[in-house]
């Protein structure tokens, strides 16, 4: 900020100023820049004049019970006579600590508390209001400020282990600002990138900046964003489209959801700039229907933009028109593929088509269309304001900037992390993620969802970028990281992904439709117990493994789209690093992690069994034999692995082998 005025003010000339007047200061005649500046300052919320309470109410927060926390807060506050504000914010990314509640008192730094279940609300609020410092030991961290008083012995957010190694550009305001307030977004310098673009830059200049920054598609494609825009810009047409892919179909990925829920304007600003760069006058945001909260926030944000005339015709007096339309996905993972997405918008079955022609040349309704992922677009405004050199100073040789990862699975600190490219996997899993939970042994981290592969202990020092991951048979994907420990079976994981692919395959091309079905069959045979076996299954099992690699080749080489081409990856990756598990399933007929239930043997420990006969009574297939008061035993040929005996034994005498 220069001379006390937010930089957007520099670009507000003529009628644009009027728009802001009518929205920011209704009823004020002839407002001056100073009036606007003051109003924007209050909207910023860098300091407050009364207590503010922020509740993390993204989907994670809601799932953890944020609504009940809010109710408890209202209950506590209704007995007090002072003025206060409760703001529901999005995900800051600390999923493991939800519900999160921040308390921002006048004159003091904003303070963050985690795991704030309803019973914890009153003690926290009362203690803080009475300046009782003992409550501070429960705080997670505090936010730094220029002029406010710091809390004693509470780490700053930048020093908090989870955030220490992160570099937050896309997520910098998620979980902090009010996602429903366009005013706050503008006050924090929002839409000044757009204003700068429309006032000072030509479309080709915008494309060049983005290309020079080194930004690559964050949806998994990894293609140079600026280059893609140029293809579309250079294709003459009476109508062009920009499409934001917010379908986020990868199971285990929720980065886009967080951005759209927590900071929708960041996405929208990037989208409008991008549309200008290719001269598209219509933009679509294709968002999955399973994200109702994100859709609601997006709708509000877009409505506000129309009200403030930052959408519609002649934005900022530049002559540029743009309309944004929301299209809800209807439940098809394959619609994350560009041409399938386009067909879905056109009201057809979401089936991909051969490329070329590429969408940038002939896309939606046959017109040049560019499709970018949410995270890609969320980077745009920062690059415009801070320059391409700033962006490509982060990261490593072939991948610039930051990447948002969704950490989940068997790890202590689940959540969203944004790190510079080139950071090692070990740092993410152990330094930021805190390592496996419950003191279990780390086994692998799956990256790239159903198109990706696993990173094991031996490769944990790998620097994360688009190319390095390919060398170990994995893929960046959209950024979902699922951690697995010793209790997970990698054959089961491969089967899980193949089930997913089979369910989501569009069915158009033979290698994907039939090939993945055959792979699924093979995996099912491997994990099937002897009781369910029929006829030639045992022979087929042996054949099957040999076939897996051959089939994988065919499917990879000949499938029509990326879904099919990368479908074999999870199998190939687990086969490479966990061949021993596969062999245990095939040759020893057992599942070492005890997950594939049909291959697990239930056993009664003689020394612990007192012969109460309860398990034998409960057994639905009469597989347990024994006389009263004598140790019982389980006939594994009859056992159907339902686990009832394990549940009812009060003496811990039954184990899974």
């Amino acid at each position: 900020m220069n001379n006390g005025l937010p930089s957007i003010d520099k670009y507000l000339i003529g009628s644009s100023l009027e728009y802001f007047n009518s929205c920011l200061l209704p009823g004020v005649l002839n407002p001056t820049s100073k009036d606007i500046a003051e109003k924007l300052e209050t909207l910023k919320n860098d300091s407050v004049d009364k207590p503010y309470f922020f509740i993390g109410a993204g989907t994670c927060g809601l799932g953890a019970g944020a609504i009940h926390t809010e109710k408890a807060l209202l209950n506590v506050l209704k007995n007090h006579k002072f003025d206060y504000e409760i703001i529901k914010v999005g995900c800051i990314g600390l999923c493991f600590a939800e519900p999160i509640m921040d308390v921002f008192l006048p004159g003091k730094n904003r303070l963050s508390f985690g795991n704030v279940t309803p019973d914890k609300v009153e003690p926290i609020v009362l203690a803080l209001l009475q300046d009782d410092q003992t409550i501070l030991s429960q705080a997670l961290f505090q936010y730094p400020s220029l002029n406010l008083k710091a809390w004693q012995e509470v780490p700053f957010i930048n020093d908090y282990p989870f955030f220490k190694k992160q570099k937050r550009i896309v997520l910098n305001q998620c979980g902090i600002i009010n996602p429903l307030s366009i005013g706050q977004y503008i006050a924090q310098n929002g839409y000044s990138a757009l204003a700068k673009t429309l006032k000072e830059m030509t479309p080709i200049e915008v494309c060049n900046i983005i290309e020079n920054s080194g930004l690559k598609g964050r949806g998994g494609g990894g293609f140079s964003t600026g280059k893609k825009w140029k293809f579309a810009l250079n294709t003459p047409s009476d109508q062009k489209y920009f499409i934001c892919n917010a379908d986020e179909g990868d199971p285990g990925a929720f980065m886009d959801r967080a951005v759209v829920e927590g900071d929708p304007h960041k996405l929208l600003e990037g989208l409008i700039i991008a549309a200008y760069a290719i001269q598209a006058t219509k933009a679509y945001i294709y968002i999955r229907a399973e994200y109702p909260l994100a859709i609601a926030h997006l709708e509000k944000a877009i409505n506000d933009l129309y009200k403030w005339k930052i959408l519609g015709s002649n934005i900022f007096d530049s002559g540029f028109d743009l309309d944004i339309i929301i299209k809800k996905g209807a439940g098809a993972f394959v619609c994350g593929e560009e041409t399938a997405l386009i067909h879905s918008i056109e009201g057809k079955r979401g089936m991909p088509r051969p490329r070329p022609p590429f969408p940038a040349v002939s896309g939606l309704h046959g017109k040049p269309s560019v499709i970018n992922n949410v995270e890609t677009l969320a980077n745009i405004s920062s690059i415009i304001l801070k320059g391409s050199d700033w962006f490509n100073s982060m990261g490593n040789n072939n991948s610039k900037g930051t990447k948002v990862f969704a950490l989940s699975g068997k790890i202590k600190n689940t959540g969203l992390v944004e790190v510079p490219m080139g950071i090692t996997m070990r740092e993410i899993i152990f330094d930021i993620g805190g390592g496996p939970k419950n003191n279990k042994l780390f086994k692998a981290v799956q990256i790239g969802g159903p198109s990706g592969g696993c990173v094991t202990d031996e490769n944990l020092n790998i620097e994360i970028d688009y190319d390095s991951l390919k060398t170990i048979g994995a893929m960046m994907g959209s950024g979902g990281l699922v951690v697995m420990d010793e209790d997970n079976c990698m054959v089961d994981v491969a089967k899980f992904f193949m089930d997913f692919i089979q369910r989501e395959s569009c069915g158009k091309c033979i290698p994907c439709r039939e090939g993945t079905k055959q792979m699924q069959n093979i995996l099912e045979k491997i994990t099937r117990g002897r009781i369910s076996e029929k006829g030639n299954d045992a022979l087929d099992r042996f054949k099957g493994i040999l076939q897996l690699e051959e089939l994988s080749n065919t499917i990879k080489e000949t499938s029509l789209c990326g879904l099919g081409q990368s479908a074999p990856n999870p199998i190939l990756s687990t086969l490479k690093y966990f061949r021993n598990e596969y062999e245990a399933h095939i040759f020893d007929r057992r599942c070492p992690s005890g997950v594939c239930i049909e291959l697990v043997n239930f056993e009664i420990l003689e020394e612990k069994c007192i012969g109460c006969t309860l398990c034998a009574k409960k057994c639905p297939s009469a597989a347990i034999k024994g006389s009263p008061k004598a140790p019982h035993y389980i006939n594994n040929e009859k056992c159907i692995k339902c686990g009832q005996c394990l549940k009812v034994c009060k003496f811990g005498a039954i184990i899974k082998n």
């Binding site: 799932g63 990868d250 699975g409």
Partner: protein, 162 residues
């Protein structure tokens, strides 16, 4: 049993789409299903005639996407997430518990019309796996014990409403 709202005819719903063309097919199907809870044969016929689309195409599009239902769902639509993180955290055990409690399989509705059970693609709350949603309300960090309570709560709610 959740009966479709027979006062709202499809025609009046379609008024919301004055200049509709093929690109509006999916939004129309979504909008109509939101109101009617599912897509019946006659509904799809009306939509086809409205958009001047062959019915085989309407049916072909509707059956392609997971979201569309062709039979009336239960009053409480339970959707359990089958994402990677949820699977790794044992969502199949949760599903088994639901199946055993409700005595229906995934894709079915209980005979009293109270609950329908569906397995859906990733809800996006992976940090709090396993997750399920009931009529849009999210429940996270599920265990088989929690499931029992949640279902019972809904049953009690129904009983007190009657």
């Amino acid at each position: 049993m959740s009966k479709p709202n027979t006062n709202t005819t499809i025609a009046s719903l379609l008024l919301k789409f004055p200049k509709a063309n093929r690109g509006d097919l999916i939004p129309i199907l979504q909008y109509v299903q939101d109101s009617e809870k599912f897509l019946s044969k006659s509904t799809m016929i009306e939509i086809g005639e409205f958009l001047k689309l062959p019915l085989s195409k309407v049916y072909g599009v509707a059956t392609f996407y997971n979201q569309f239902k062709f039979h009336p769902p239960g009053k409480y639509q339970i959707q359990i997430c089958r994402g990677t993180a949820c699977h790794v955290e044992g969502s199949s055990t949760i599903l088994a518990a639901l199946i055993s409690d409700l005595k229906i399989n995934a894709g079915e509705t209980t005979p009293d019309g109270l609950f329908s059970l569906e397995v859906v693609a990733c809800i996006g709350a992976c940090g709090l796996a396993p997750v399920m949603s009931v009529n849009g309300e999210f429940f996270a960090k599920l265990t088989t014990e929690k499931i029992k309570h949640i279902i019972q709560n809904f049953r009690d709610k129904e009983a007190s409403n009657e």
